[in-house]
């Protein structure tokens, strides 16, 4: 009986018994439910969605030069370090991972998901796509449907929030409502204080 119980322990396979099975992980990645696109993310940032935790996976140099408002910097090599793992091993916030492109965020997502952390998302296309969508939206051709124009205008408006300078005509029209000389309505870059409660560890194994 003792031998059998001991055997069960090893049945889950070394090295980490708590990891998601590889085939289930693959299925999860193929469902593509973990992507968030630039429009949706911009919308959530602007509306101040309190359930969101945005994580910049790039190195600190790139993060300092430019990063999304209210984002946290966790260079991807450190996501499993004990100082940072708590941001992912929790069920209070939805975490959006981003990097310059898509690859690093996606791979980091895969590793974190294999540890059974949930509610993790990847910004599709990363900052590059964000720039091409929100910061420098493509003006639709004249023959495009109205929905395209609406999307374009929404994106332009969102762009002002993220630091795109407002054209003078818009500024003057609104007549001194606190827009700074540097233009744009750049959201506060100060990281909000976050207290993460550690997720209650589910008991693994047992009869």
């Amino acid at each position: 009986m003792v031998v059998a119980a001991f055997g069960l322990l090893f049945m889950d396979g070394l090295p980490d018994a708590t990891r998601l099975r590889a085939d289930q992980l693959l299925l999860k990645s193929m469902e593509k439910g973990h992507y968030i696109n630039s429009d949706d993310l911009a919308d959530k940032i602007i509306s101040g969605d309190p359930s969101l935790l945005i994580v910049d996976l790039r190195d600190s140099v790139q993060y300092a030069k430019y990063s999304l408002p209210n984002s946290l910097n966790v260079p991807y090599g450190k996501i499993l370090d004990k100082d940072y793992i708590g941001y992912f091993d929790q069920d209070q916030f939805k975490v959006v991972l981003y990097s310059n492109d898509h690859l690093i965020a996606e791979q980091a997502w895969l590793i974190l998901s294999s540890k059974n952390f949930s509610d993790l998302y990847v910004l599709k296309g990363g900052l590059n796509e964000f720039f091409n969508t929100i910061i420098r939206p493509q003006e639709p051709v004249a023959t495009a449907p109205e929905s395209e124009f609406n999307k374009y205008n929404t994106r332009k408006a969102a762009g002002y929030y993220f630091g795109v300078p407002m054209p003078r005509s818009v500024k003057n029209g609104q007549g001194g409502n606190g827009i700074t000389e540097t233009g744009g309505l750049l959201a506060s870059k100060k990281r909000k204080a976050i207290t993460i409660r550690k997720k209650k560890k589910k008991k693994v194994g047992g009869c």
Partner: protein, 178 residues
């Protein structure tokens, strides 16, 4: 005699009981394939470009594997590639195939429509002990547009200097205001 029979019964019951437990343990769902490395070790693979292959330098004696579905594959694929749809990666035939390729010492290059389609299967397979697997940077898109490869910059390179963009944009705005 009666005592002996009693002991026999208990003995037999014990054997049956123990066998049932053993049977249960042996037939319990084992992981399809166990991870051969820890998550921390797998993390080192993230951003590892040594397993990324560019269409510009294709290693010889490599087996191309198309991870898209059969319809995409039928529409067009890399010459001599075999098709293993990513969703079928853990089917017995697929695992046997990968094990066979590993035994033959072949380099396996996964490709999808773009780099991301192949990167997930690559990362998962790499954690299962298949260290002979690579993935194609430019994807099938790149294979079809061999002349326009400059379009496929290194992944994770910023498309532009973001900070500088804002500075320039503001300068331009100030300039226009004059």
């Amino acid at each position: 005699m009666k005592e002996l029979k009693q002991t026999n019964k208990i003995f037999i019951a014990g054997i049956v009981f123990f066998s049932l437990i053993l049977l249960g343990v042996l037939t319990a769902k084992k992981p399809v394939l166990p991870y051969k490395i820890t998550a921390k070790e797998a993390l080192k693979l993230v951003g590892d470009t040594s397993k990324m292959v560019s269409i510009k330098n294709i290693p010889s004696n490599a087996q191309w594997i198309d991870v898209r579905n059969q319809y995409e594959f039928a529409k067009g694929h890399i010459e001599k590639a075999t098709n293993v749809y990513a969703a079928d990666l853990f089917e017995p035939f697929s695992i046997r195939y990968f094990e066979q390729l590993k035994k033959e010492g072949k380099k396996v290059i996964l490709y999808g429509q773009d780099i991301n389609e192949a990167s997930d299967p690559w990362l998962i397979l790499s954690q299962l002990g298949f260290d002979n697997i690579y993935y194609l940077k430019e994807g099938f898109d790149g294979y079809q547009n061999k002349k326009n490869l400059a379009h496929f910059r290194n992944p994770e390179q910023p498309a532009l200097d973001y900070a500088r963009f804002f500075v320039e944009a503001r300068k331009k705005m100030m300039g226009e205001g004059k």
